[in-house]
Symmetry: C2
Subunit: 365 residues, 2 copies
Amino acid sequence: MRARERVANEDVSGEEELLERIARRWAGARPPRGSLGIGDDAAQLPWPAASPVLISTDLFVEGIHFDLRYTPALFIGRKALAAAASDIGAMGGAPLACLLSFAIPARTPGRLTDAILASFHEEAREIGIPLLGGDLSSSKTKLMLDVVVVGRLAGKRPIRRSGARPGDRIYVTGPLGGAATGLVRLRNGARPWRSALKHRQTPSLRSAGRLEHSLETIAVMAHLRPRPPLAAGAAFGRSSVPTAMMDLSDGLAIDLRRLCRASGVGAEIDEQRVPLHPAALHFLGPVGALRAALGGGEDYELLLCGPGPSEAVLRRIARSVGSDLIAIGTVVSREHGMVLCGEEGARRSLPHLGFDHFRPHHRQR
Amino acid sequence: MRARERVANEDVSGEEELLERIARRWAGARPPRGSLGIGDDAAQLPWPAASPVLISTDLFVEGIHFDLRYTPALFIGRKALAAAASDIGAMGGAPLACLLSFAIPARTPGRLTDAILASFHEEAREIGIPLLGGDLSSSKTKLMLDVVVVGRLAGKRPIRRSGARPGDRIYVTGPLGGAATGLVRLRNGARPWRSALKHRQTPSLRSAGRLEHSLETIAVMAHLRPRPPLAAGAAFGRSSVPTAMMDLSDGLAIDLRRLCRASGVGAEIDEQRVPLHPAALHFLGPVGALRAALGGGEDYELLLCGPGPSEAVLRRIARSVGSDLIAIGTVVSREHGMVLCGEEGARRSLPHLGFDHFRPHHRQR
């Protein structure tokens, strides 16, 4: 990591100070032997074996991916890193190290910058990866993070989006729609982390009021603090059993469509089997919850496919890393298209849900 | 590369279209066998030998690193990639592949986006590296690029900033202050690329008017289209002769200070030997040119140190890749500090020049 641009009329400038604060924060973390981190033009990561490098880069832009009106800084760095690490897991890999590019508007309070960097550090510590470098810049108007995660294949080959074959089963690793529900609650003014952070306890379910509050906390946390199943991704990768895999960052409807397009197949999803997040059901009702599960995005669960006979193996793998595996449908031939099967055999086209960064009239997050 | 966020109510959305346009542009480039590029959650780069991975990430933010009022889109992608690749060369490495994160404001004309992507592609083709992935996002207000370059050591070990020892000579690989001069001319309204692009010819020096125009073109191009000496960086790295190396992205004064701080040494620079860019001399005069060379930044030449007896070897290496090697001073012990030696033995402290992203009262680029 280096502070680009010219530096001020003192020996230690604001930039160098910020860099040194970052380096100090990371001083305890031990990067792999042979790594070079903060301080040189580029980072170095030792790579002893003949194994491919996995790399992912993920933007996290103020006003698009987070909104300071309702996103506490404490979660911004965490989420940016979790989302980028999720991409490595979704390839069947294990994250090894990260880099952070951070553009900071001139009037940003130091405590906001610090909170973002602290939460980034906490997430990295939980994942168990060092920060090896990055770039710092000012910004004219908005905060912007770009996170790079470098990882290694857990198995012999990556699990791509393009390997699904007709007859494969389609699975997800957890309930969907929680993050979207949390975003709705946040926009409606919910700030449940205040008490959650204060009491440091798992919400109990003793009363209706508490249930409401608990579900709200869980949903809001699902939005603010996604925990991608990295161990499951690596375990599936090690097994080489899934034929296709990706992470559910943009919603099941669109992500499944992408997987099917890459694989040249269609899909039949059993509406009843799509695991709806309990908070989505509670706050949005069954129709809203299905909509959130299909189009909400940011759940960061895995979407994967595998041959029917391997289902028991996949279940065992998921269980071994404390993850769920929920069968939600079947891969069919491309001509069948994308079908959502409802109650009593009702079939309809998988709805198109979501928004597009580059079409102005669609719903923005 | 994947289009994050939810996608529109059509099978091919704006995002997917943009992704496909990018993929089409790169269809001719052949990434190394075993690479996975655009289309999956993460990119894969084959890494057959036991050799460390070099990674650099570089922000390029509208209003900070470029200004659409005077930066033609045609140069934006090029410069963002050149700056990031320069970091790999400065470690003694060779770039192998790149990733691009690109945040685009909603009202950005398609031709602007296309021109930026086209110029990024041209630079990558010249460097000889494929685009393996990235991220696309909308942005609330400003364009923002973050470029990741992955590379390999050319030799056995990286050339870091921290290896300079008292007695070493200090070198740069080319004239300094050209980019800063170009920026001044641009801000004063110079648009010399119009005719340069039109006539596709090297400016001739036949008349004074032409000299003026030629020097302006050269200076403006130095700012808009830096060409870091990547071959020299790799050749120096292969030789393992330099004791310390970095790229001159932020100006000699501050970059040398960083190198010296990392090495725990001081430096004596011979003012007369600092190679001033001819356009800087012409437009800024000797005092202004020295100021531009010391504090201007963005020249993307290499700054390196090496033991005195190895000077002939370093010169041979530089010559073999068509690069200059200009000795500008000597590494001294830390207590001597940072000294600029002028005419007739005048000595003064190396001036602090430049600006700081994070101190509001300093000069902004």
